[in-house]
């Protein structure tokens, strides 16, 4: 079997996903275009050699609809022979794109692909794509489908995570992210977002707050209590009869930030790297996806990580660094507890609580953050994982070269 290598990785800074965010006036296709252009320019890429551009996008409707990957291939001025495909595995779409691209290289069918994702949550709000899973009353009632915030609170209840624990984790995420920025640890991957006349709109992730503390977070009201008490808690608890109630402990400050952003990773075979004179930065060791109980929904990273490790004959101890998406603070806590992972190895530069979670792009962003940090610290192996709507998990293992 051929091997798949990561040659380069680029992303935009993450902008606040609201109408006051720096990237709000940028069309999503422009965000993605800037990533493709940067990859071409940084690698002096002959784009006619790119087989496909695989991009995750979770609300592929409106201006994110109609295959935004192919659209960006055209707007970036790539060779028109380059194809483009948009895919959606909810929050993991960006990593799913990477895994898909890697698999195609490993299968020996293609040589060079760009994989990543894009989401402008300020312009195409989460949920804009509707979907039977979230709207069909028969499916919702039979499978006890609830919003993710309820599921996250259910996890915190079931595993006994207190509000204080979650807030502490969230405050740490901001502290770690702030240090990472100060030290320029994201510098290799992040390109500034420029407007149409070349002015810098944003050159760092907009959501990091140096003034966030456990005390400031303690003042925030739980975000999902009201909707929970209007019936959704009861629906979820039908599957968890041993719990008397759901404790609502997540809020805007210990959940991932709604953001805009795009990311892309150049993935190819060994031969294409040699041909183009590119130095491979890492090798994809393997990946896994799996389904998990859909009501609690967000526990999937644990079985997905186990599956990815065992398929590759590895154990948790073989991994030097982990990136687990901070969709909600309970998720990394669960991930560390269930897998017995040392917190010092996890999200060392902060995560989506401080940096944001542009749904379609995040998976690819986690992987490049991992890669940058392995290179900075000289460590060998890393694993990125995300929880996924509908009850799924994903994990990808890379090895620095």
């Amino acid at each position: 079997m051929a091997e798949a290598f990561l040659y380069d990785a680029v992303r935009t800074p993450r902008g606040r996903g609201k109408s006051d965010g720096a990237l709000y006036d940028q069309q999503p296709v422009r965000l993605l275009t800037s990533v493709l252009k940067a990859l071409r320019e940084r690698n002096a890429l002959d784009t006619s050699l790119v087989d496909d551009v695989v991009m995750g996008c979770v609300a592929p409707v409106g201006e994110q609809g109609a295959d935004i990957a192919r659209t960006a291939v055209l707007t970036a001025g790539y060779d028109p022979q380059v194809a483009g495909v948009q895919l959606n595995r909810f929050c993991s779409s960006g990593l799913e794109a990477v895994n898909t691209a890697a698999a195609r290289v490993m299968a020996g069918q293609e040589d060079l692909l760009i994989a990543g994702g894009v989401e402008s949550m300020s312009r195409v709000p989460m949920g804009s794509d509707g979907g039977a899973l979230f709207t069909n009353p028969e499916i919702i009632s039979r499978h006890r489908i609830v919003p993710q915030g309820i599921s996250a609170d259910l996890i915190a209840t079931k595993w006994g995570y207190s509000r204080e624990q979650l807030d502490r984790f969230a405050a740490d995420s901001h502290r770690k992210a702030a240090i990472a920025w100060q030290e320029g640890r994201f510098g290799r991957s992040v390109i500034p977002a420029l407007d149409e006349i070349g002015q810098v709109l944003l050159d760092r992730d907009e959501g990091i707050r140096t003034d966030t503390t456990e005390a400031s977070l303690a003042r925030l009201n739980p975000a999902f209590e009201a909707i929970g008490q209007a019936g959704l808690d009861a629906l979820a608890l039908l599957n968890y009869p041993a719990l008397p109630a759901i404790r609502h402990v997540h809020h805007a400050g210990n959940s991932s930030q709604i953001t805009d952003g795009a990311a892309g990773i150049l993935i190819g075979s060994k031969a294409i790297g040699e041909k183009l004179g590119l130095k491979p930065r890492a090798r994809i060791r393997g990946y896994a996806v799996c389904g998990s109980e859909p009501t609690i929904m967000l526990t999937g990273p644990v079985p997905a990580t186990r599956k990815a490790l065992s398929r590759n004959g590895m154990s948790v101890a073989d991994i030097d660094l982990f990136e687990i998406n901070e969709a909600f603070a309970a998720i990394p806590l669960l991930f560390m507890e269930e897998l017995g992972i040392d917190p010092a190895k996890v999200n060392v530069n902060g995560g989506a609580i401080a940096l944001g979670h542009p749904l379609g792009a995040t998976g690819a962003i986690l992987l490049m953050t991992l890669l940058d940090e392995l290179e900075r610290t000289g460590k060998g192996t890393g694993l990125a994982s995300l929880c996924i709507g509908g009850g799924m998990g994903i994990a990808t293992i890379i090895e620095r070269l």
């Binding site: 009353p137 919702i140 009632s141 209007a230 019936g231 041993a242």
Partner: protein, 702 residues
């Protein structure tokens, strides 16, 4: 049946069914309505149509007997029937002739659905008129376009309470909600407004319709629903919220409200012509479900039958109860006094002194005051009711009572004493009764001079809210006494069931099987949270441990102790043992703010007492939710079956109604006795045997 006349070139179709107590949609009226409509459609001289009624009501709904009959037919037959009705109502919209519903009175269910298919709804300001779609309360869904036209008319969110809760409206409220277009002040005004509208609107279209290229009226493919379509950002989340609320309320035990949501969700995404078939499919599924059969059979027809006196001995003239004596002005006595006075019966409320009795009368005054505040009564009416209650400490005031109800403490000596003192004051042929929940009537009757005229009348608390009265026959109780007791229960508008004397009678005995199974699960180390949830999710009003606390653990201890003494319970009875442990710890239940639960000061909520884990440590292996639910339900059903076979309860209907109305056995199962039919006789038996092998002989089927 449907009068047809022409006035000003307008066909007026007036419903006037004489074969039924009300105008209803049935096998007679539907063809007649079809014929009348067709006549108007076909007559070139007719420029418009008015649908109205000559009776007090407009159309009260569909005849449930027709639905029950179709219940056992193949699904395709019921679907064909339903589509036939859909096409009939649809023809009103597509005939091209303006059609107005002149709603003179109540329009419920299919009646309201007729009006929704009309181009305009004008309603008479009739204070007695009710408009609504109450199908859901009978386990059904509005199957003649209601789930499609109402949300298309007023929006999905606005229509939800009418579709999902069966909320009823006055004509004025319906006008404010946008369901009725216009109000009229008199029948003449109603007709005049209808005619005027037809003249002004010779070719109306429903908002969800358009004319195609050939000029025919068809449903719009992309009708824009007021307030937003199904997948609109504003409306889409309502379906998750709505489904969750339905599940919170029904725990998935009742299919109708979810099917209604599905009708709206699926139907409002497509044109109405195709959407009506979607509704019909869901209608057939729901109408043919065991749940709908049970709700219509037991709660609708069954309860009506019981209320009419199905269990009353025949051939005995009806007694009009005029004067009732009540001994003991405690909570039960006061409640019985209230419901008796409400029915216009003269009440003598006797306690140890007039002062104590007055306190009992004050209970009625309080309830009447609340009724005035809620606009359900007037000062005048309330005063008249209250004046019927005479509070006294004097036995002599009981003179000439038709019926005396003893409601003193559950103590044989005390009961015997008041019986001896009061019984002689009854009028000739009057009946003495005891409101006991546990003490055998035959034994209590020993204190009476006329044990043949001694009977048990077991009321439930709170008396004004609980619909059931369990009538208990002692060994010597005569049919005449039963007939009189029945006449009284009917007069106070409660539902009577009749049972034979035995330990715990019927309702207390079966109810105890529920709490007892909960306690046994606890003793086995099953997580008490799981036990409580299983009770609620199975459809019981509260968990077995919570309800034990409400009954009071010292009472359970006393009753079970008595049961052991009487030989009705084994000496090692689980409830007795656990209750005695709890009581010895001072945990008497809710009244002591300590029982299976802890009861912190409000607004904090009660929670399971953590000390239970020391008393009954959690087992390492916990049963599934379904298994716990099964144990709680089968136990009750089997106890009811034993009662039936032992002759404690005399009819299946009484057994079912008693279970639902007395202790809240889930109605979707049809009642404690009907549960085995709902599950299927064979399957029930096999499951009971399995449970008996696993958990003990109490599950052995009858």
């Amino acid at each position: 049946m449907i009068h047809y006349r022409i006035q000003d070139q307008i066909a007026i179709l007036s419903w006037n069914m004489t074969s039924q107590p009300m105008n209803v949609l049935n096998d007679e009226s539907i063809p007649a309505f079809r014929e009348a409509l067709q006549k108007a459609f076909d007559d070139p001289g007719v420029t418009g149509i008015i649908v109205t009624s000559e009776r007090n009501e407009f159309v009260a709904g569909a005849d449930l007997k027709m639905i029950l009959r179709l219940n056992d037919k193949p699904a395709a037959d019921m679907f064909a029937f339903s589509m036939d009705l859909q096409r009939l109502f649809r023809s009103i919209e597509t005939s091209g002739k303006p059609t107005v519903a002149a709603i003179n009175g109540t329009a419920l269910g299919g009646g309201l659905e007729i009006t929704l298919a009309c181009h305009r709804r004008i309603a008479l300001r009739n204070p007695k008129a009710q408009l609504g779609l109450p199908e859901v309360t009978l386990g059904l869904l509005p199957g003649a376009g209601g789930t499609q036209r109402l949300p298309r008319l007023i929006g999905i969110a606005a229509a939800a309470p009418y579709l999902l809760e069966g909320k009823r409206l006055s004509p004025e409220e319906a006008h404010a909600a946008g369901i009725v277009d216009e109000l009229a002040d008199s029948p003449e005004d109603l007709l005049a407004k209808a005619i005027a509208w037809i003249k002004a609107n010779p070719a109306p279209l429903q908002p969800w319709d358009e004319r195609n290229k050939k000029g025919a009226i068809v449903g719009k493919d992309h009708y824009s629903v007021p307030g937003g379509g199904v997948q609109s950002p504003k409306t889409a989340p309502l379906f998750m919220g709505g489904a969750a609320q339905v599940m919170q309320k029904t725990h998935g035990n009742y299919p109708a409200p979810l099917a209604i949501l599905s009708c709206v969700y699926e139907g409002l995404s497509i044109n109405i012509d195709r959407a009506l078939a979607v509704e019909s499919r869901h209608f057939v599924k729901v109408a043919q479900s065991a749940v709908a059969k049970n709700l219509i059979g037991t709660l609708f027809f069954g309860q009506n039958e019981a209320n009419k006196g199905a269990s009353r001995p025949t051939g005995i003239p009806v007694t009009d109860i005029r004067k009732v004596g009540i001994l003991g002005a405690g909570m039960m006595g006061s409640g019985i006094a209230y419901v008796s006075a409400l029915a216009g019966i003269q009440v003598v409320l006797k306690d140890v002194s007039a002062e104590v009795a007055e306190k009992g009368k004050a209970y009625s005054a309080g309830l009447l005051e609340k009724a005035i505040q809620r606009g359900k009564s007037t000062r005048e009416k309330a005063d008249a009711t209250l004046s019927l209650i005479h509070a006294t400490g004097n036995y002599d005031d009981l003179k000439d009572c038709d019926l005396i109800i003893e409601a003193v403490f559950e103590n044989r000596e005390l009961k015997a004493e008041v019986t001896r003192a009061a019984e002689p004051l009854l009028r000739d042929g009057g009946v003495f009764s005891s409101n006991t929940s546990t003490l055998p009537i035959t034994g209590l009757a020993e204190a009476a001079v006329h044990p043949d005229r001694f009977i048990g009348l077991h009321f439930f608390s709170p008396v004004d809210k609980m619909q059931l009265v369990e009538i208990i026959l002692g060994k010597q109780t005569s049919d005449t006494a039963l007939a009189l007791a029945m006449d009284y229960v009917r007069k106070i508008r409660k539902t009577p069931i009749v049972v034979n004397d035995s330990w715990g009678f019927y309702t207390s005995r079966c109810f105890c099987s529920y709490t007892d199974e909960g306690i046994r699960l606890l003793r086995e180390g099953v997580d008490p949270q799981l036990i409580e949830k299983a009770g609620v999710l199975a459809g019981m009003p509260v968990g077995p441990l919570a309800v034990s606390d409400e009954v009071a653990l010292d009472l359970i201890y006393k009753i079970a102790g008595q049961g052991i003494k009487d030989g009705a319970l084994a000496p090692d009875d689980a409830s007795f043992d656990t209750a005695s442990r709890m009581v010895s710890d001072g945990r008497l239940g809710k009244k002591a703010k300590a029982g299976f639960y802890e009861y912190p000061e409000a607004p904090a909520k009660k929670y399971l007492w953590p000390g239970l884990a020391d008393l009954y440590p959690l087992a390492a292996e916990q049963p599934s939710l379904e298994e716990v639910k099964k144990r709680l339900l089968y136990r009750q059903s089997l106890e009811a079956q034993h009662c039936f076979h032992e002759g404690v309860i005399r009819t299946k209907l009484d057994a079912d109604l008693g279970s639902i109305l007395a202790w809240g056995f889930p109605a979707y199962l049809g009642g404690a006795l009907s549960m085995k039919d709902t599950v299927g006789e064979e399957a029930f038996r096999a499951e009971a045997i399995r449970l008996a092998e696993a958990y003990g002989e109490r599950f052995r089927p009858v």
